[in-house]
Amino acid sequence: MKKYIKLMLLIIPLGGVVVMGFNNCARYGELENASTGSSSLASTSGGPSGGDSIDSQSLGIPFALLSAEQTLASMMKVTNLTTASAATLTEYTARYGSLAAGNDLNMANGPLMLGSTSLAGEVCNSLVAQESAAAAAARNFFGSINFAAGIASVDNASYALAIRGMARSFWGRNENASELAMLTAFKQEMSDALAAANRTAAASTRSLVVGTCAAMLSSLDALTY
């Protein structure tokens, strides 16, 4: 009897883990079909896109998620980068599985956001490397940033200019007040978290800009169209 209870205690939670967990490994359309009890036989289900459900399109929602390939192409386009670096391509290949397999908004999930952020980080690395190597006047995004000085030198006004440039390119619009406040708070928190000596190190400015760029480039406004 004791053995039986022990067995049940093991099986019931395990069942819960199996049912509730690992869903990101399933094909979205099939997962949805399974939950509604409808057929998931791709060859006879009749949907033009098979397992890749496109519910947001059926609903006529005027936004669509960028698929994996679109995500990389868009990130390159809005940052003015013409060639993807080796590191970017490696990251893209590694994250390809978690990026969207279609344009349905319900494909946006945790792994997709993490994957997009990682990819955006590499793209932003390339962008910052390109911009910091150019004279301030020749830069597209970060003309207001002094990459030779530490984060302490980045005042709110010059930081706001960098945000404005990225917002217009990545989101296609100006940032709003709450977005600006949130990003400015991020800068302050990052600065506060550093030891005083590190706040004057040039690397801290680069980290701030790459972090801000990656956050903006992987936000939903940058991943939808």
């Binding site: 791709a42 060859s43 006879t44 289900s45 009749g46 949907g47 033009p48 896109s49 098979g50 397992g51 890749d52 496109i54 399109q57 059926s58 006529g60 005027p62 936004f63 669509a64 960028l66 698929s67 994996a68 390939e69 679109q70 192409a73 868009s74 386009k77 809005v78 003015n80 993807a84 391509l89 390809y96 397999a101 279609g102 344009n103 597209n140 995004f141 200019l161 404005r164 440039g165 990225m166 217009r168 390119s169 990545f170 989101w171 296609g172 619009r173 100006n174 940058a222 169209y225």
Partner: protein, 419 residues
């Protein structure tokens, strides 16, 4: 002369705009309604985001305000991402059994992009004798080893992120490999239907029925259950189909028969094709008969591949395939109205004839219009509600000379698409 100069200038300025570095205007306000519409139009056509300060937005917005939305769409289709992203992503799900966007680039997809870019008649996709290949420093390009017997060539194009809008080159005349070093002309070329990609997906094992099913799924937008017809002739249904499933003949008559009447009627078109062994794509007219391994094809003395007549004891009185003829059993009223057959659509021989029957139908044109609508407008077309519109768009597509690029441009500015 002056005209040529102006055309050159306009083309050059558009090219520069498409490829230009965009410097954000830090002092500008948000986009106007016309600019927002222009941006949306660009993003739908190219499948990629566009910075708010791109000079293309102003150019396109001006054209839209002048009532020339089509002109604005034409500017967007000059962007390489129209081919590299939008057309490619439309073709990818059509190329594999999984119908996923996350499918590899193949000769099928390259053909689709090429036909669109070169403004060719889209019916060539199912009837033409051509293929598209690329080039590049790190792109393996041996015709036998890398194009016919493997997907190395197209994998490399993808890996090196080749610009498909300029890299792909049309090659007239499809070929098949008969050894590790030799090729022969394809005896029955039919565009992407006889591509390695499509045949590899659907002629691999099985009974070649999938080739018919997926041709109709992808190029007619009709799943098998939608065109099944239990009232059509069952004369062409093979011997491998049980007429008494679970001992119940009624089940065959009311269920199995429906799909097999139409599917098995057309199946004969692929009687001489197989995909197996090292050689991959094979046709019994040019490959040596054998067990199907290496460069041999498993076919009978008439050239019909063995799998077409396999499991012949299930219902020995069923149809025995003896050649590559096919009959169109989708001609009863409901299917005739759905497909809108034209020309000699009742029967034919081989894949090229099959592709001709399919691509000359009005449904093919409507399907292309539907696919383009859903690709650029980002919404599903409800065929029941939009039946008249779909017929109209199909007719417009045909009037344009079956040009896919024009279809993308015109579809993207339809009120049904923009609203």
């Amino acid at each position: 002369m002056k005209f040529i100069f102006i055309i050159t200038l306009v083309t050059a300025s558009a090219f520069i705009s498409v490829h230009a570095q965009v410097k954000p205007d830090m002092t500008a306000g948000d986009l106007t309604a016309a600019q927002s519409n222009a941006k949306k139009l660009y993003e739908r056509i190219t499948g990629t985001k566009l910075p708010a300060d791109s000079p293309l937005i102003s150019q396109m917005a001006n054209l839209i305000q002048q009532g020339n939305s089509l002109g604005a769409a034409k500017l967007a289709t000059q962007d390489p991402n129209f081919y590299n992203i939008t057309v490619k992503l439309m073709a990818l799900p059509l190329s594999t059994r999984e119908e996923s966007l996350k499918s590899p680039l193949t000769d099928f997809v390259a053909g689709f992009i090429g036909v669109t870019r070169d403004d060719r008649d889209a019916r060539e996709l199912l009837t033409g004798n051509f293929y598209y290949r690329g080039s590049g420093a790190n792109v393996r390009s041996d015709i036998v080893a890398d194009i016919l017997n493997s997907n190395n060539h197209y994998d490399d194009l993808e890996r090196t992120r080749a610009d498909l809008s300029t890299n792909l080159v049309r090659v007239e005349g499809q070929v098949l490999s008969t050894s590790a070093t030799t090729t022969v002309a394809n005896p029955d070329p039919a565009g992407v239907l006889t591509s390695r990609g499509f045949m590899g997906a659907h002629a691999l094992m099985g009974t070649n029925r999938r080739l018919v099913e997926y041709t109709f799924r992808e190029f007619m937008c009709v799943p098998l259950n939608m065109w099944a017809d239990t009232g059509a002739s069952d004369l062409r249904i093979g011997r491998d189909i049980d007429r008494f499933p679970s001992g119940d003949h009624t089940k065959f008559l009311t269920s199995c028969k429906g799909c097999h009447t139409v599917q098995d009627g057309f199946r004969g078109a692929f009687a001489k094709w197989d995909f197996s062994g090292t050689g991959g794509l094979k046709n019994s007219a040019v490959h040596t008969r054998g067990d199907g391994g290496g460069f041999t094809i498993a076919a009978d003395t008439r050239g019909v591949v063995n799998k077409m007549n396999k499991n012949n004891t299930v219902f020995p009185s069923g149809y025995v395939m003896i050649d590559s003829s096919f009959v169109n059993n989708a001609i009863r009223p409901a299917n005739a109205a759905l497909f809108g057959w034209r020309g000699n659509a009742l029967s034919g021989t081989g894949v090229k004839d099959f592709g001709t029957v399919v691509s000359n139908s009005s449904r093919f044109s409507q399907c292309m219009a539907k696919r383009v609508f859903e690709t650029v407008c980002r919404k599903i077309l409800d065929e029941t509600k939009s039946r008249d519109a779909l017929i109209k768009w199909g007719t417009e597509f045909e009037a344009s000379g079956y040009k896919l690029k024009s279809l993308f441009e015109s579809m993207s500015v339809k009120p049904e698409c923009l609203n």
